[in-house]
């Protein structure tokens, strides 16, 4: 098959931005863009609230840096954050030049909105469908570049790696069932997160940690996997996302008694209705808000919606016109999925797994430990988010680091004259063909992926939720490892070649299992509470910089349990300090 300079796996925001950057870096360079779905189906499409960049005259890089580092509870790589905040604006302007329909002020300037944990309004938005508009803008723009060759509905199953260097990928062509070895000098993973490892989540069905697992199986560390973000406002039942912009625009959260409970959890004092203040109350960070829900639930102050414990998002005071202008999608979602009209009614909501802060470890230039293999976006851990991501930093991340990855990968491809080991690649292809046949062969004690998946997502929810304990994590880890064993007996019921979605979901489950083991192991070993990772065990309920101001790195072991090591954090620009919001935060900033 063909050989490419740069091969991008994943057609979401990060993958498309990387492909475009590679195409612009070398108009004669050859770029492949592989995606298991048509690019515009990628989960970037569901991002709602916006993309952050220092924009206003009263804002500064230092402020965006400080918010991001403190928001991540000092576990972010500070050099990376510094680069990010300084390159954010130009990337959003680039999107503007490509036609992204950003919402505007009356004078025609770009409008910015408030977002949780951000000191100043700096979140660009396109109504409440920012990810959708960014994804379509990027996809449509990518059509301009003849040197980007798309492979839509190609499901990548494995990386081709020889002697620590990337050689390409193995991909299943979904429409035929044929397995291809596709050669490339560099590969960029842009495969998104792993939220589907959990039962209750905001993610699309395709968000199954594929790229994370593939790099991990080849020896690249998965870093900071214990930090799983619960978004405080998902719809009960489905987990469908209700954007943080609802609160940025002035929405408030109340418990079953109509009380704005966030003031009891270090986020107060209560701000007057219709007068939101940055970093107070509903504009606190996501980890704190989801934790507050859990506390309210324990106190019996949550309401009930069809059997789910919920609190309520009140948008009524914003009025119909404003809601339809700023939050039209939210109004539509609430109507369709919980039969609620936000103009006149409270929306029942509860936290749902939303985002994986951790991922494939990369350096500050997005390259992994495998030469020529890059990772970007949610699948990657470049070190931007630390222990908790601030809303609206990730859409910008796709752009800033997508561009960086695309440029570097193309330059590297052009400067290397690597000989591919065709023999080894053919051998890998044969092994995978064998594996796929084995999956579809009938077995005496065959189990379906459906059973295993249900047990997995339940185990993750039970032991690896908003608050975690040693015993709960031990139980989850044992369960995940048991399921990995049982996977050896999995049997795919559909034996056809073309469009075998049963096979794809079975392979996705295997990715999920490996990623899940890394998440639980890192959660177990981090015996402190930081950001989105909270422990209830004695002596672990506070942040412990002495022992844990470190990244976790989990390494895959074939035929054995995964192992964990620790890695120093770059704190060269800002000494770890107290992380506080509301009036407390105001005081500590003044000091």
């Amino acid at each position: 098959m063909q050989q490419f300079d740069v091969l991008v796996v994943g057609g979401g925001g990060a993958g498309l931005r990387a492909a475009i950057a590679a195409a612009e870096t070398a108009p004669e360079g050859r770029i492949a863009l592989l995606s298991k779905v048509y690019p515009m189906r990628s989960h970037t499409v569901a991002a709602e609230g916006g993309a952050a960049a220092v924009t206003r005259a009263d804002d500064s890089f230092a402020a965006h840096f400080a918010d991001t580092v403190a928001g991540g509870d000092w576990l972010a790589e500070q050099g990376v954050v510094d680069y990010f905040v300084k390159h954010a604006y130009q990337e959003l302007v680039q999107m503007e030049h490509w036609g992204c329909p950003w919402s505007r002020q009356t004078n025609g300037d770009v409008q910015v909105r408030r977002f949780g944990g951000m000191k100043t309004e700096r979140t660009w938005f396109a109504a409440d469908k920012t990810g959708f508009h960014m994804l379509h803008t990027l996809f449509q723009t990518s059509l301009k570049y003849p040197n980007i060759q798309r492979f839509d509905e190609f499901f990548v199953v494995d990386l081709l790696v020889n002697d620590g260097e990337i050689n390409g990928v193995l991909a299943l062509e979904i429409s035929t069932g044929e397995l291809h070895a596709i050669q490339a000098k560099t590969v960029i993973m842009a495969t998104g997160g792993a939220g589907r490892v959990f039962r209750f989540n905001t993610n699309g069905g395709i968000v199954t940690g594929d790229g994370m697992a593939m790099a991990y199986r080849h020896g690249v560390a998965l870093r900071d996997m214990e930090f799983v973000q619960y978004h405080p406002t998902g719809l009960p039942g489905s987990g469908i996302l209700i954007t943080e912009a609802s609160r940025g625009e002035g929405g408030v959260l109340v418990n079953k008694d109509g009380y704005r409970y966030l003031q009891d959890y270090g986020l107060g004092p209560e701000t007057p209705l219709g007068k939101p203040e940055n970093k107070y109350m509903e504009l606190g960070p996501r980890d704190k808000l989801s934790q507050a829900f859990w506390q309210e639930q324990k106190k019996g102050r949550t309401g009930n919606y069809n059997g789910s414990d919920v609190v309520y998002l009140d948008l009524r005071h914003l009025g119909k016109d404003y809601l339809y202008e700023r939050l039209p999608f939210i109004c539509d979602l609430a109507k369709s999925y919980v039969n609620i009209d936000p103009v006149t009614q409270l929306i029942p909501i509860r936290p749902a797994v939303h985002y994986t802060m951790g991922g494939i470890e990369t350096d500050a230039l997005t390259e992994t430990a495998i030469s020529g293999l890059y990772a970007v976006g949610e699948c990657a851990s470049v070190g931007l988010h630390g222990a908790n991501r601030l809303g609206s930093n990730s859409l910008t991340e796709l752009l800033v680091f997508g561009r960086l990855a695309g440029e570097h990968a193309m330059r590297k491809a052009q400067s290397t004259d690597r000989q591919t080991d065709m023999g080894k690649n053919q051998e890998a292809l044969r092994q995978w063909q064998q594996k796929l046949q084995t999956l579809m062969a009938s077995k005496a004690n065959g189990v379906t992926w459906v059973q295993l998946k249900r047990e997995l997502v339940q185990a993750m929810e039970d032991g690896c939720g908003i608050y975690r304990t040693e015993s709960g994590l031990q139980a989850s880890l044992a369960k995940v490892r048991q399921l990995k064993q049982q996977y050896q007996q999995v049997q795919v019921g559909d034996t056809s070649r073309a469009y075998n979605t049963d096979l794809l979901q079975c392979l996705e489950l295997e990715f999920c299992l490996d990623v899940a083991e890394a998440i639980v192991l890192a959660s177990l070993e981090r015996r402190e509470s930081r950001g989105a990772h909270q422990r209830l065990d004695e002596g672990m309920t506070d942040r412990n910089d002495q022992d844990f101001l470190r990244h976790s790195q989990v390494f895959f072991q074939s035929q054995a349990d995964a192992t964990l090591t620790w890695q120093a954090v770059d704190t060269s620009l800002s000494t770890p300090g107290e992380r506080a919001y509301g009036a407390q935060g105001q005081q500590s900033e003044a000091r």
Partner: protein, 243 residues
């Protein structure tokens, strides 16, 4: 509650012809068509094949014909069908397997209309600055930018059914979206595609495309505004040709 749901199956590796299969599915007030399909796949028959992802009506994967009408599976509910419920692949597309159709046919039309911003040449001197665009200028095209490429409008369009070369409502809506954008200078490049018989003039203004659009894009309006533009641009060409 339970419901008998009929699905039009097509398994070309086993049967040359499509056939109907009935599944007995539990449901309540919240069960979407997509939920029902996932139940069937996970509990009753793993070979039933369909696309889906976001389950919140934004990724555009799960378009099917439900009782003959193009719908997004995640935004339509079993409760809406008190009597028979039958699900088929989107009409007018080539069926690949079960409810999966060839979306490449739609993407080719999309690519043909150059659905991206074409900048002023030479480019403005300050590339690091955003353009100004007032809310009123944004409002002119915003609706047409909301297309999720689900293909329901193509399944609704009788002309696309007769002539697969017709660029079709979704792609024309996107061309129109860029033509109306105050930042764009590419109309002259897009109009030749829209001016042809396979462009806007194929449309007989049935308007069903707008009825079925799950995002309120109103492609029929785009097509007919496109006809006005097309007539203007053809007149201009005639005068130029005569000069």
């Amino acid at each position: 509650m339970h419901k008998d749901i009929q699905i039009k199956r097509y398994l070309p590796e086993e049967h040359a012809e499509p056939f109907w299969q009935t599944f007995h599915v539990p449901y309540d007030d919240t069960t979407s068509i997509l939920d029902a399909l996932n139940y069937i796949k996970e509990e009753l028959d793993p070979t039933v094949s369909f696309r889906w992802s976001c389950r919140m009506a934004i990724c555009g994967s799960c378009g099917y014909m439900v009782n003959g009408i193009p719908k997004l599976g995640c935004k339509d509910f079993v409760r809406n069908y008190p009597s028979a419920l039958h699900i088929e692949p989107l009409a007018h597309f080539t069926v690949e397997r079960d409810l999966m159709v060839a979306m490449d046919e739609f993407l080719q039309h999309l690519e043909a209309v150059k659905p991206y911003l074409i900048a002023e040449q030479p480019e403005p001197t300050e590339p690091h600055k955003p353009h100004r665009q007032t809310p009123a200028q944004l409002a002119k095209y915003k609706q047409f930018a909301n297309c999720i490429n689900c293909g329901l409008c193509y399944a609704a369009c009788p002309q696309f059914g007769l002539n697969p070369e017709f660029v079709g409502p979704g792609a024309i809506a996107l061309a129109h979206r860029y033509n109306l954008d105050s930042r764009d200078h590419g109309k002259v490049e897009r109009m030749p595609v829209l001016n042809t018989h396979n462009g806007v003039w194929s449309c007989t203004f049935v308007g069903f495309c707008s009825d079925v659009c799950p995002k309120g894009v109103d492609p029929a309006a785009a097509v007919n505004q496109g006809k006005v533009e097309s007539a203007k641009s053809m007149l201009i060409q005639m005068f130029r040709g005569g000069a």
